[in-house]
């Protein structure tokens, strides 16, 4: 099938381009709306506060991006967040603050490995497996804390995490941004990152092509656990509290952010920068609506509607994904001299 044939005129191409770059489009639209309603929205302080509120969820979203690209699902992030937060705060007295934080990270990694074993070794569907581990980790949290929040020994220890370092960006935002940029480089520039996409679109074919699919799947869950652990440790230290109920709704919102960013639940498609865009969209939207004192339930309606609309658009144009919608191609084909450009295009396209 020639890539040009299903397209008639510039409109459908424009639509395809819109869908392809929907994260940017929706982000700019949200930012414009936010700027209209919130005076001083683009002041550095407002912006950094907006990003700061998604930093914790962002870390979980980083892990989820990898898991979703691998074609799996991880519901246990919130429970791991609570568990490693409790470890990082609760172990301070006996181990010291820094070792306790490292222990929290280790517990996150271990929990992720548990998920990996369930999915890869026992071959349990990832939705069910992480549902089970979510119940399990959450129960462990309640068991070791007796269902009560615990406090750390020194409330000043966590202050640097929320203090501005670079300009107005707080340390945890800085960690989050660096990690998501690293993830972007890994996913787009390195062989192992590209292999992850292969595993996500078809694990069996990837294995047949010499990729260790099962290790990639295991690694995705371990990584997701580690990221949830990092989220829990930073959140726990910053608030100097560990609670068994922390993060009970965070995963579903994080999945929404990742999917708004263009990552597909079916696996094999996704990007780190898209996830960043999705997170920023949610943050800007929430800030703008809260400033207008729109009730939380109306915010939910708006978020849900945007989520469904974006996926529906993605689905409707999925059949035409072979079309070249890179920026240069779009510019060339939507320019006034479109006919000439298309002539040129047809010549180059093999029948």
């Amino acid at each position: 099938m020639s890539a040009v044939s299903p397209l008639r005129g510039g409109w459908s191409l424009a639509l395809l381009g819109l869908v392809r770059y929907r994260v940017i489009v929706i982000l700019i639209a949200t930012l414009v709306i936010a700027a209209t309603f919130v005076p001083g929205f683009f002041e550095a302080r407002t912006l950094s506060l907006g990003i700061d509120r998604v930093a914790t969820m962002g870390l979980i979203a980083i892990g989820l991006t990898v898991v979703l690209i691998a074609g799996q699902l991880d519901l246990s992030g919130g429970a791991i967040l609570a568990l490693s937060g409790i470890a990082a705060v609760g172990l301070q007295e006996s181990m010291g603050q820094v070792p306790a934080a490292i222990a929290g990270l280790g517990i996150g990694l271990l929990a992720g490995c548990c998920n990996g074993v369930l999915v890869v070794l026992l071959r349990i569907n990832s939705l069910v497996a992480t549902l089970a581990s979510m119940l399990l980790f959450r129960a462990v949290c309640h068991l070791i804390t007796d269902s009560r929040p615990i406090s750390g020994i020194d409330p000043f220890f966590g202050i640097p995490l929320t203090q501005p370092v670079l300009g107005t960006l707080s340390t945890r935002v800085f960690i989050f941004v660096v990690l998501i940029l690293l993830l972007h480089v890994w996913l787009t520039r390195m062989v192992s990152g590209r292999n992850l996409f292969a595993v996500g679109s078809n694990a069996t074919s990837a294995a047949a092509s010499g990729i260790r699919s099962r290790w990639y799947l295991f690694g995705a869950f371990a990584f997701s656990g580690l990221m949830a652990g990092l989220a829990g440790v930073t959140f726990g230290i910053a608030s100097n509290t560990g609670s068994p109920v922390f993060g009970d709704t965070i995963v579903l919102t994080a999945i929404a952010a990742v999917v708004i960013g263009g990552t597909r639940l079916e696996g094999g498609v996704g990007s780190a920068l898209g996830t960043l865009g999705g997170l920023l969209t949610l943050a800007a939207l929430t800030t703008a609506m809260e400033y207008q004192s729109i009730p939380a339930y109306v915010q939910d309606i708006v978020t849900g509607a945007i989520l469904l609309l974006l996926i529906l658009l993605d689905r409707l144009t999925h059949a035409k994904r072979g079309t070249d919608v890179s920026p240069t191609a779009l510019l060339r084909r939507l320019s006034p001299k479109r006919d000439a450009a298309r002539q040129h295009e047809t010549e180059r396209t093999p029948a």
């Binding site: 026992l122 569907n125 069910v128 089970a132 119940l135 068991l143 079916e266 339930y297 529906l312």
Partner: protein, 335 residues
């Protein structure tokens, strides 16, 4: 891999599958496993506590599972059509509860419950169209629909907790007919109807077909999209009914009233040995899973085990049940 004949034992569809001596264990395992497990739990419970095997306690267990059981019936349909799972249950339960109690003073309890169930069905229609016809991933669809529907339900009552005003309705739902609680009767009626629809009607056959091989099903001119959509409409409607019952019993409805029901329902269905891959399972098996979880919980509660340990038990139970199921399947397929 030479065994190409239709494995009808696992699908639950009666057929001409042969049970040989070699595959006896694997074939019988899924069928008798659950009843044996439940009987075993009953024996263990009786040995551990003298309060366990009393009519009062067992009826309490039944009352406790009735509301969840109504949802489980719908969730079974979703699982069998390979619709993965319906995560919008908390929202539809809340819609049922909030509308029932909110409209109660204006139009009466029964009509209000009906409106609640219909509104929940409406949410199910939206998910069903998106999942069945537009073929969007069920997880994200039900998640999105859930957010929207819950938001609208809260908006309609101003985002506050709704209190009930009809004590008669509460008394009726909590009352007993011939010693059987009304709420249990409602659950049994729903379960029997669900079982008959699944095992005796064309829709039931379509549900199995859609789950076991979607491509072949479409090629056989079965309305695949409609079948899959109907599973979600059914789950939403039944969740609405469960929400209405919950609202009437508790006489309060807050937006978070249904939180956790989706995972509890999935747990019951999965423990019942019904695969997420679709095409297999039955209502009795799902109810069996529900009973198993409930009895286990009851034994733990009677023993004064902390709630947290019950959570651990539930998690391990899911892993154990699914691993066993996968193991039996693989063994059954090979022999």
């Amino acid at each position: 891999m030479t065994d190409t004949k239709l494995d009808t034992t696992i699908t639950g569809v009666p057929g001409t599958s042969r049970v040989t001596r070699a595959n006896l264990g694997a074939r019988l395992g899924p069928v008798i496993g659950m009843p044996v497990g439940i009987v075993l739990l009953l024996v263990i419970g009786t040995l551990l506590s003298d309060r366990f095997f009393s009519v009062g306690n067992l009826v309490n267990v039944l009352i406790n599972i009735s509301i969840l059981g109504v949802i489980v019936v719908g969730m079974t349909f979703v699982f069998i059509t390979r619709g993965v799972a319906d995560l919008s249950v908390p929202a539809t339960v809340a819609v049922g509860a909030i509308l029932t109690l909110g409209l109660q003073p204006a139009i009466g309890t029964f009509a209000a419950a009906l409106v609640g169930i219909l509104a929940a069905c409406g949410a199910g229609v939206v998910s069903g169209i998106l999942i069945g016809y537009a073929r969007i991933n069920p997880v994200i669809t039900t998640l999105g629909v859930s957010t929207i529907v819950l938001g609208i339900a809260q908006w309609s009552v101003g985002g506050v907790i709704v209190y009930g005003s009809d004590a008669d309705a509460q008394a009726f739902v909590n009352s007993r007919v011939f010693g059987i609680p009304v709420i249990v009767i409602i659950f049994v009626i729903v379960a029997v109807i669900g079982h008959l629809v699944l095992s005796r009607t064309t829709l039931g056959r379509w549900v199995y077909a859609a789950g076991s091989n979607p491509d072949a099903t479409r090629a056989s001119a079965v309305p695949l999209a409609r079948t899959r959509a109907s599973a979600f409409v059914m789950t939403a409607g039944l969740s609405g009914l469960a929400g209405a019952l919950l609202g009437i019993t508790l006489q309060t409805a807050r937006p978070a009233i249904g939180v956790g029901y989706e995972f509890d329902a999935i747990t019951a269905v999965v423990v019942g040995g019904i695969s997420l891959l679709g095409g297999s399972g039955s209502i009795p098996r799902a109810i069996g899973g529900l009973l198993f979880v409930a009895l286990l919980n009851n034994i733990l509660v009677l023993h004064g085990v902390p709630t947290a340990v019950q959570g651990i038990a539930k998690g391990l139970l899911i892993v154990g049940a699914v691993s066993l199921d996968i193991y039996l399947r693989r063994k059954g397929g090979r022999s």
